[in-house]
Amino acid sequence: MELINKSRVKSPWLLHYDGSSCNGCDIEVLACLTPIYDVERFGIINTGNPKHADILLITGGVNKKAARVVKNLYEQMPEPKVVVAVGVCACSGGVFHDCYNILGGIDRVIPVDVYVPGCAARPEAIIDGVVRALQVLAAKTDKEAVV
């Protein structure tokens, strides 16, 4: 059990979803995968599939259409899981917060564990956010009974 909990922190697989971002943060997320930042050092893999993911990483605010998608993706992820909101739009809606179609930050739809501000969020900040998310993940597993 101890081994599994340790491994959890060493093997975070993430799912990246673009709510309604301007693509600025998305570019920075992708930059994390490049040789300069190389997040695979931490065992991070961009899975593209909620059923394999541990971390849901969302950029951009949530609009009315995306709300259902975000909820679906979150529900399809197996426990334990954490959510990271990347960029100021994902945190609060940002400059789009009073736009006609925007509901606001991600936390309007699903519980968010880590907020990474910035416009766009820098890769260093994103990596830091994910690592903090891992601490949340570890804390969650300590509390929750795992199947």
Partner: protein, 648 residues
């Protein structure tokens, strides 16, 4: 052999009597009782034959006439009937071929005095015949039991003015008698008679529904098999003319040419018989009659494909194998068979009609069996016999299950069978066992195929074709099975109620498929090995067959794999406990509509769509009509080469 004699008589005459009873009796309950009783008696008969072992039997006289004369008369009557049918259908080919057969028979009977010559004994029940009898009388009987119920449902769904059920059961049951006669016959002239009876029965059964398509396909089956019949008759004439009366005895032929292969005219006659076997077994380019036969009600297909008809062809070719061993005819037969195996397997990929997939697979597997006969080593011959046994069981099972499913869901299309595992769980389980038993270890078919490829290493071209074909078969079986297993997350399997006829036949065959495979060692030792050793005497053969039975050097045995399969089934129950495991909807890029049907998603403009899935059929590349033309030509060339190398 006093009991043996009765067993042979019962196996041939009981179906005739039972068939007449069904026809005259006209009532469902009568047909029901008759089919069950006949089935049980025939099965007991076959088991009795198995226990009694090989023997010869010469029937006496009938009303002062020799049986030979009676058979001769019956032959002419049958040909006259076929001629009449040809005339009524305005089918030139049938008329011509029947006329040729009649001429050959006249030549045989009166020109050469064939009707006077009576090779003794008329029936020789050897180990191979006993295996065939077991298949015919057990698998065939189960199909007849199934047929009673099936044809009743069939008429409910396609009402007719006057019930044709009695007629249907008549032909279905009498078929078994004809097949029994065919496999027991030692006198080739008698075998020819039974051969023609099976042709005629299949004509009647294929045309059962009387639609234009059914009649057309029945006529095609008739003319193609008449071509085989003509080749058979020609073979008989040559044998009598150049060999003499003794050569009409299968046993004489075998014992006389076991050491060295036949030559000259005798080989030509044998090649004619092989050609006859190939038409009956629907080898390229004659496969179209068997595919056309799919219009018939499913029990007919099951019977034709598993225990009777097509098996008569491979039986003849296999029986004759020692006679043409070591000749070019043998190698050519192997290559033609292997080519059919490949071509039919490839064509099966393009089919979405379940019965046509099964038909192509039958053609393919018969090709494999014929290839084994052509490879003609003791191991290959045992592989062929193993394949005959297991193919009969598995293919019968698959056809019957397809028929059952067709009545339940109203379609025989593979795409319509999607999600069968939740709709008809029992049928899906039977299908799973049936399909796996067709080509995967540790089931008998695979053991046969394995032995076939191992022995084919002597003959590179045949081996190469077998290798390609073997890879192709997995594709069409698995994609079909995949469609049936598909299910929505968390779907609860429906309850399925099966009629007792179906439970008896499907259950019996499923049990046979599994049990025979588990006990393949005893099956090989007690049935296959004696059948091979009676004509092949080569040192080290015993060791070779032991290898098949017990696995290579004792390392591969089917037991561990069966235990593992059972383990998987049990362990899956522990690994997946419905109460503990959540079933979230499938991943659809998060666009799931949130309905109970977890595969409905939102499309543009707030519309909803449902996931549509379908198999690959490659119809663009694998155009059936175009490729059939191509492979038929190659098949025809192979047949010509086959006859050519004989003459050369």
């Amino acid at each position: 052999m006093i009991t043996g004699k009765y067993l042979v008589a019962v196996s041939i005459w009981l179906p005739v009597a039972a068939a007449l009873l069904c026809w005259l009796g006209q009532s469902y309950s009568l047909r029901n009782i008759v089919s069950y009783l006949t089935g049980i008696i025939l099965a007991v008969c076959a088991l009795g034959l198995f226990l009694s072992g090989p023997f010869d039997y010469q029937p006496g006289e009938i009303w002062g006439l020799s049986w030979n004369t009676a058979i001769s008369a019956a032959d002419f009557a049958l040909l006259a009937l076929i001629l009449y049918i040809g005339w009524r259908q305005r089918h030139k080919l049938i008329i011509i071929l029947a006329a040729i057969q009649a001429l050959l028979l006249i030549c045989f009977d009166f020109g050469l005095g064939g009707s006077e010559i009576e090779p003794v004994p008329a029936f020789a029940v050897d180990h191979l015949a006993i295996i065939m009898a077991l298949i015919i009388n057990i698998v065939g009987s189960l199909i007849c039991i199934y047929g009673v119920k099936y044809i009743a449902e069939h008429e409910e769904q396609h009402p007719v003015a006057k019930s044709r059920q009695p007629r249907f059961m008549f032909w279905l049951i009498i078929f078994l008698g004809a097949m029994n006669g065919l496999v027991f016959a030692n006198n080739l002239y008698w075998m020819y008679f039974f051969w023609e009876v099976t042709t005629f029965c299949s004509f009647q059964l294929i045309g059962h529904d009387q639609s234009d398509e059914a009649i057309g396909n029945a006529c095609r089956a008739l003319w193609m098999n008449s071509l085989g019949g003509a080749a058979f008759a020609l073979g008989l004439v040559i044998l009598l003319r150049y060999g003499g009366g003794d050569y009409l005895s299968m046993q004489y032929l075998l014992s006389h040419h076991t050491a060295a292969g036949a030559t000259g005219a005798i080989l030509l006659a044998v090649s004619m018989l092989v050609l006859a076997g190939m038409t009956k077994s629907a080898q390229l380019p004659f496969q179209s009659w068997l595919l056309g036969a799919m219009v018939a009600p499913t029990p007919v297909s099951a019977l034709l494909h598993s225990s009777t008809m097509v098996k008569a062809g491979v039986y003849l070719i296999l029986r004759l194998a020692p006679v043409y061993a070591g000749t070019y005819l043998s190698s050519m037969t192997a290559i033609a068979g292997a080519f059919t195996f490949l071509a039919a397997s490839v064509l099966a990929i393009s089919q979405s009609n379940a019965k046509r997939v099964l038909a192509y697979s039958t053609v393919a597997n018969l090709g494999l069996i014929i290839a084994c006969a052509g490879i003609n080593t003791p191991t290959a011959i045992s592989a062929a016999i193993v394949l005959i046994i297991f193919h009969a069981v598995s293919k019968g099972l698959l056809f019957l299950c397809t028929g059952y499913v067709e009545h339940e869901i109203g379609s025989r299309d593979i795409e319509a069978m999607e999600g069968l595992a939740d709709r008809l769980p029992a049928a899906a389980t039977i299908f799973t066992i049936g399909i796996i038993s067709m080509f995967l270890p540790p089931f008998g078919m695979l053991v046969g195929k394995w032995a076939a490829i191992e022995s084919a290493a002597q003959l590179p071209l045949a081996a190469f074709l077998l290798v390609l074909a073997s890879a192709v078969t997995a594709l069409f079986w698995l994609k079909w099975l995949g469609r049936m297993l598909e299910g929505r997350p968390g779907a609860i399997a429906q309850r399925e109620i099966m009629d007792s006829h179906y439970i008896a036949s499907l259950g019996g065959l499923t049990a046979a498929a599994v049990l025979l495979s588990i006990f393949i060692g005893p099956v090989v030792n007690s049935m296959v090995t004696p059948a091979v050793t009676q004509y092949y005497f080569s040192p080290g053969l015993e060791a070779n067959l032991e290898t098949i039975a017990a696995g290579s050097g004792g390392l591969f045995s089917v037991w561990p794999l069966f235990i593992l399969l059972a383990l998987i089934a049990v362990a899956a129950g522990f690994l997946y406990q419905p109460r503990k495991v959540k079933n979230p909807p499938v991943y659809l890029c998060g666009e799931n509509a949130g309905l109970p049907e977890s595969t409905v998603f939102m499309t543009t403009g707030e519309n909803m769509g449902e996931v549509k899935l379908s198999n690959y059929y490659f119809t663009g590349f694998l155009n059936e009509a175009r490729w059939s033309r191509v492979v038929n030509r190659v098949g025809l060339i192979m047949i010509l080469l086959l006859l050519g190398v004989t003459l050369w």
